[in-house]
Each structure stands twice: as C-alpha cells, then as structure tokens.
C-alpha cells in the first residue's frame, strides 16, 4: 500500500462497497424474477384486471327460453313444474332432455335448477369430471392421481373419501373422490369458510415448499385438491392439525362456485298467479 494515501483508500473503499452492493442487488433482482417462491409468494402484489365477464349462463338461459321439448317450451314446463310438481306436470324427463341439450355445448360445468324459494323442485348438472353410481346426480369427482408440481397425491384430501363406483367411473389415472366429512384420513375435521361449507385439508403444494418455509419462515400458500372450491388459507386452518391442513376446500357445487366468484348464476323468475319460482342456470 506504499504510495496510497487516505483519499485513494477512501474512494477505493467507496467504489468497492458500491460495486458489491450493485452485485448483491443484481443477484437479488434476478432471484426475485426467476425463482418460483419469490414470484408466487410476493407479499405486496396488486393486480387490476379490467375484464372479467362471465356471460355464458345468461346466453345459455336465453337459448333455453327458445327451446321446446315434446309439446311445450322449457319455460312452460318449468312454470308447470314450479306450480305443481315434476310428476303432475309430466316433466320428469326434462332433466334428461336438457342434459343432452347442454352437453352439446362442451361447457366445463353447468347446473340447472327449478326452485320454489329454497326448495329445489328439480336440479341437475354436468357429469363431466363426475363419478358415482347415481347416474342422475353422481356423488363423486374424478381426481388425478398425479399432479404437477406436487407429485403423486396420496389421497382425496381431508373431508373426502375414495369410492369405487361401478356405473360412472374415472379413467385409470384418476380416483373417484366423494365429499364425506365422516371419512377418516387421520386428520381432525375442521370446518372453514364464510358459512362453514369448507373443510381444512392438506391441499397441494410443490415439493420444495418445505425448504421455502424453513428458509423464509413464512408459510406457503396451500391450494385445494383437484375439483374442490378453494377458499384460501384462513386462520382456522392454519392452526388445525399441526398446520398440515391449511387449505380450506369446499365441495365443487354451483353454490360454492358462485360464492367463491368462480361462476355466475343466471336467475329467471317464473310467475304464475300466486306462485313465484325461479329457473337458475350456472355455467362456466
């Protein structure tokens, strides 16, 4: 260091510190952009999406208002069902007709109901991704045995039980899971969600989530198993089962999907004299 004065040393140090900080910042920014746990777990992220239009149920309803089965239109059959009953209105075959009709649309899911107040007089939905022995209303959902990036899933999740139907079955890469809060999975059943419609479940998470939690000390966001409505990771689930069932998962029904903002319901009032009923269509 002979010949180097204080000023030289000072500015060399400043330069060295500056370069070091720049390198650290560069590495840091690179990690932010490229590593999955940085990009998915960003603590303050705000997203604005201007368009989220879900008009399918309304268009389906508009078409159904023009459709005629046998000797009467769908609306006429719906009103007569609401005023009397499916048997008295001779509309017991309406669900089968409408299912055949709506299946042509290749919708991901649909649910059609005729309701008088809270009383569902007639209800049917798509059987895509469904399984079970009740062909009119299959009780189970087909769930993949393998999912990315979590790997092989070991079970249907807490609050669901695997069933082996003989009528409507899944393919070999899937298992049939039925919502069943009495099913034993080794975990305590803890209700969750705004109206207790969900169950705290293991959910799915990537294999490196444990490393993320070890390093960063914060929890990974657990997502629900396939064909369940994800209600987030509420506090009641974070505390349940030693923190192993943090995903709040509800059955994939039309009501739960509408509540979770995943689907939209179109409601047509059916009025005849003193009777006021509704034809409700949910589709996505």
């Amino acid at each position: 260091m002979k010949g180097m004065n204080v000023s030289d040393t000072f500015w060399t140090l400043i330069l060295a510190v500056f370069i070091s900080v720049m390198i650290i910042l560069g590495i840091f920014i690179w990690l932010q952009i490229h590593l999955p746990f940085f990009s998915t777990a960003d603590p303050v992220s705000y997203s604005i999406e201007f368009v989220h239009v879900v008009n399918k149920p309304f268009m389906v309803t508009e078409v159904l208002a023009h459709v005629r089965f046998d000797d009467r239109s769908v609306l006429e059959q719906s009103i007569e069902t609401a005023v009397t009953s499916p048997e008295n209105a001779s509309t017991t075959s309406l669900p089968r007709y409408l299912s055949d009709y709506l299946n042509a649309y290749d919708l991901r899911e649909y649910q059609v109901s005729i309701k008088n107040g809270n009383n569902a007089l007639m209800s049917f939905g798509s059987t895509k991704a469904k399984c079970g022995d009740n062909l009119d209303n299959p009780e189970g959902w087909c769930v993949s045995r393998f999912s990315f990036p979590s790997g092989v899933t070991s079970s249907c999740g807490t609050g669901r039980a695997q069933i082996n139907p003989t009528q409507l079955t899944c393919d070999v890469t899937q298992r049939c899971c039925k919502e069943d809060r009495t099913a034993s999975t080794g975990n305590t059943i803890v209700s969750c969600g705004p109206s207790g419609q969900g169950v705290c479940s293991e959910g799915e998470r990537p294999f490196y989530s444990w490393a993320y939690e070890k390093i960063w000390g914060t929890t990974w966001k657990y997502t629900c198993e396939e064909n369940r409505v994800d209600l987030g990771n509420p506090p009641e689930c974070k505390a349940a089962n030693g923190g192993n069932t943090r995903a709040c998962c509800a059955p994939q029904t039309a009501e739960n999907e509408v509540d979770a903002g995943l689907a939209v319901k179109s409601v047509v009032p059916l009025q005849y004299k003193q009777t006021t009923a509704t034809l409700e269509v949910t589709a996505r």
């Binding site: 510190v17 992220s45 201007f50 023009h66």
Partner: protein, 313 residues
C-alpha cells in the same frame, strides 16, 4: 496518515446498516408488483358477442340466430353490423347437432335453403342440394355454398387476415329451427393487423382532425401487399398489384383516403430499414407527402381527405 486496517473495518461496520437498509428497501420495492391487464381485445370480443346476439338483422330472439338472416349476412360486406376501429374480427356460427339425416334429396330442400341461402334449389349430386349417400352411417344433407359442399349448419361473417395478434372466445348460442332452437357455438376471433392499424389511423385522423402515426416492422406487412387503397364503395383493402389480398379488407365508409404505395415507399427508402412509420394527415386541401401546414385541416376546418405518408425510421 497511513493505511489503517481498523479504520477500514470500522468504516464497513458503519456502512453495514446503511447497506442493509438499502437492501431492505429494494426488497420492498421489487416485491410490489402492479399488474394491469387492460385486455382490450378480449373485452372487444365480449362486447361484440353482446352486440351480435342482440342484432335483429341476425337473430330471432336474444342469442338465437335465424338461418335465413345469417345466410343473407354472409353475402353482405364485412363489419356492417358491428365494428371496432382497433380490431377486426371473424365470426363463425356452427350448430352442434351434426349433419341432418335424410333418406332422399327432396328432404334436404329446407336444409339447403337455410344453410346455403339457395333461392333456386337444384336437387341431386350434379345440382346444388343433395342427400349424400353413406356406406356406413346415416345419409345426410349437403348443399353448395361458394362452390363447396357443406353438410352442417354453419356460417362465417367477416375476414381473417394475417394478424400481428389475435384472440378467440366461444359462446353458447342457438339456431332457430321451427319452433325450437338447435344448440350452436359462436366463435369470435378478434385480431390486430397491419390493415386494422392503418385503417384505424385513417379513421381517427378523419374524425378527430389530428394526425395519427402507426409504426411497424417490415415483417408485420402481409405478404404481397403493395398498396393500401379504397376498393370502391364502402371498404378499403390491401392490394397486391391490381388484386385485393385475400381477407385484407375493412369497412370504412365515407372517408376519402389517398392511395398509399407501400411497395414504392419501401423501394424508395433505405434498403436496411426494417422499421417504418405511416402518418395519416387530415387534409383540407389536396397535398403530397409531406403535406404543408396550410393543407392540414385544423379544428374548425372540414376534412376533405386523409393523406397517408410512409417513411423509414
């Protein structure tokens, strides 16, 4: 004063908190992401679906199309029922019910009239309406539309040129059939292309009385396009020589736009130029490129024509 290692260590120790503070602030800064997705093209598709399914020129009831009206709409020029300046579109409506089963040619007359819009039906394989015989499976009706046999209820409205970007959405609709409706799908493809940009700049210049510029790369030009000009009547098109380029036309009525010689501009510019700019000038008096200030229309002037000038960047 000599080189003092302790002074350096102390300096670094004092700098440490400042460095960590900077790192912490950087963490906060880069953790905050504002993700704005305007989705204007997707929004246009949904708006168009609402417009089209409500247009009494096309439908019997909301979302239920009438075959006769669709056949008539196929014959008129594109974009007459709905238009967006920034994006073009193509609309496909197809029944999900599959082919219409028949036993004899005579049973297909209704199908042929609805699907192909035939006013004069000539039955048989040598005519324009036929019951197609199948060795395996049911025989089905088919009719000739634009010289090709068609065996399903389907219609296409609009153009689909080479695009820079495009998006597609499908909607459940119905096709009126007697007193009921067949299930059908309406597929809307919206696109952004060289033609939509240049025609929209022309329209904006005309209506807002301001000049509008469009930048593009030479690889975004549709193959063979040499000229942009009015195709007579209501539409403007890209031409290859004296013929319009397939699918490269837009509805732009009532605007007097000068021809743009794209090929001439390309050849007249630098051979290395890959980026170009076309500027649409609203004119109150005729002029050549680049127009003088006295020829460009102001706020209170009437726009007589739009001049397009192309130059390399």
């Amino acid at each position: 004063m000599k080189f003092d290692i302790m002074a350096i260590v102390m300096f670094l120790l004092r700098m440490g908190p400042a460095i960590f503070f900077v790192l912490f602030m950087t963490l906060l800064f880069f953790s905050f992401k504002v993700d704005i997705r305007e989705n204007s093209m997707e929004r246009f598709v949904f708006e168009l679906s609402d417009t089209v399914t409500s247009d009494t020129n096309l439908v019997a009831d909301k979302s239920v199309f009438t075959p006769g009206k669709l056949s008539a709409a196929e014959q008129v020029e594109a974009e007459q029922y709905a238009q967006n300046c920034d994006f073009g579109y193509q609309l496909d409506i197809e029944a999900k019910s599959g082919p219409t089963v028949c036993n004899a040619d005579g049973e297909c007359a209704g199908f042929c009239g609805s699907v192909c819009g035939l006013s004069t039906i000539d039955l048989g394989i040598t005519g324009n309406c036929n019951c197609n015989l199948e060795i395996i499976g049911n025989d089905f009706c088919e009719c000739k539309k634009n010289g090709e046999w068609q065996d399903n209820y389907k219609w296409r409205l609009g153009y689909m040129p080479s695009s820079i970007a495009e998006t597609n959405s499908k909607f459940p609709v119905g096709i009126e059939m007697g007193d009921t409706a067949l299930p059908a799908t309406m597929s809307i493809t919206a696109y952004d292309s060289f033609l939509t940009r240049i025609s929209c700049a022309t329209a904006k210049a005309f209506y807002t009385k301001e000049k509008f510029a469009v930048r593009f790369a030479t690889n975004q030009l549709p193959g063979g396009a040499t000229t942009f000009k009015r195709a007579g009547g209501t539409h403007v098109c890209l031409y290859s020589g004296s013929d319009p380029v397939e699918g490269e036309c837009r509805y732009l009525p009532g605007i007097n736009v000068g021809d743009l010689n794209i090929l001439g501009s390309l050849l007249g510019g630098s051979i290395d130029s890959t980026k170009w700019e076309i500027t649409a000038y609203p004119l109150k008096a005729s002029a050549t490129c680049p127009p003088g200030a006295s020829a460009i229309a102001g706020r209170d002037d009437a726009v007589s024509s739009v001049l397009l000038c192309m130059e390399a960047l």
